[in-house]
């Protein structure tokens, strides 16, 4: 069964992504997780989302990670929490308890409906037109923010070189 294999793969890749010592390896495992998530989205009948997830999640974000790791450099910091350990374990146990509770409650599932798989363009362009505009503004803000942050670093370097 494909779904079980993909779900197990997602879990394995996610665990490898967070437990990898080197950041670059971690980013690559994250990309593989993203590809598997895209595959599952495709099987669920959402091919457009799968394509966006694959190109953005596995492509663009991975390139950004590699770029950032190259600039910032590898730095191995062990998995030692900045939070107090009892708090961490209490929240993990609480979360696991909640998950088990919801799984037990949701065992009687709704029947899986027939897939239509069409992204109704009218929803995106008419009902959620305002949200769509907001996304455009968000992307612009992100690009401007990155330009601001990175150009600032060049100025600092120039000033450091002069001084």
């Amino acid at each position: 069964m494909w779904y079980v294999l993909i779900a197990v793969g997602i879990l394995a890749c996610a665990i490898l992504a967070i437990s990898a010592k080197r950041l670059l390896i971690s980013a690559i495992w994250l990309a593989i997780t993203s590809a598997l998530v895209a595959l599952m989205l495709f099987l669920l009948g959402a091919p457009q989302i799968a394509v966006i997830e694959l190109s953005v999640g596995a492509g663009l974000v991975t390139v950004l990670f590699v770029f950032a790791i190259n600039i910032a450099g590898e730095e191995v910091i062990g998995l030692r929490s900045a939070l107090p350990l009892p708090l961490v374990w209490t929240s993990i146990v609480l979360a696991a308890g909640l998950v088990i509770f919801f799984i037990i409650r949701s065992l009687g599932f709704v029947q899986f409906p027939e897939l239509t798989g069409e992204l109704a363009a009218s929803v995106l362009w008419q009902e959620r037109y305002l949200d769509f505009l907001l996304q455009v503004v968000l992307i612009l803000a992100g690009v401007l923010g990155v330009i601001g942050l990175l150009s600032h670093s060049k100025d600092v370097h120039r000033m450091e070189n002069k001084a």
Binding site: M1, Y3, A7, I10, L11, A14, I15, A17, I18, L23, S26, L30, T33, M40, L41, L44, A46, Q48, I49, E53, G57, L60, V61, F65, F67, A68, I69, I71, A72, E75, I77, R80, S81, A82, V88, A95, V99, S106, L107, F109, F112, P113, L115, E118, L119, A120, V123, L124, R128, D131, L138, I139, A141, G142, G145, V146, L149, L150, H152, S153
Partner: protein, 103 residues
């Protein structure tokens, strides 16, 4: 063993969110924090599409998922740029290097 498909997808969602939250609680590396956020948001996107199927409103769920992916990418970009800046200014990616108030 014949599990229903929504159940398996829900397990994938929970595993993504669980590993992401675990990493968010445990790690001190700024870039690892962005990795953890990415994992959580992947779970959220999967959950959106699953929820759209269960209530048979796929179009709305998919447009929501697009919005989430866009917002998540911007968060990743800004987070990584901030991490690079912090590395340049403090010389470390450690979260503890940021806290000047203690000690």
């Amino acid at each position: 063993m014949n599990l229903p498909i929504p159940f398996i997808v829900l397990l994938a969602v929970l595993s993504l969110a669980g590993t992401g939250f675990y990493c968010l609680l445990f790690t001190r590396n700024l870039i690892k924090v962005v990795v953890a956020l990415q994992l959580i948001v992947k779970g959220v996107v999967l959950a959106f599409v699953l929820a759209g199927h269960l209530v048979q409103n796929e179009s709305l769920a998919q447009t929501m998922a697009i919005t989430v992916i866009v917002a998540d990418t911007i968060v990743a970009v800004i987070g990584l740029a901030l991490a690079v800046q912090i590395r340049l200014h403090t010389g470390s990616l450690d979260l503890k290097a940021l806290s000047n108030l203690k000690r």
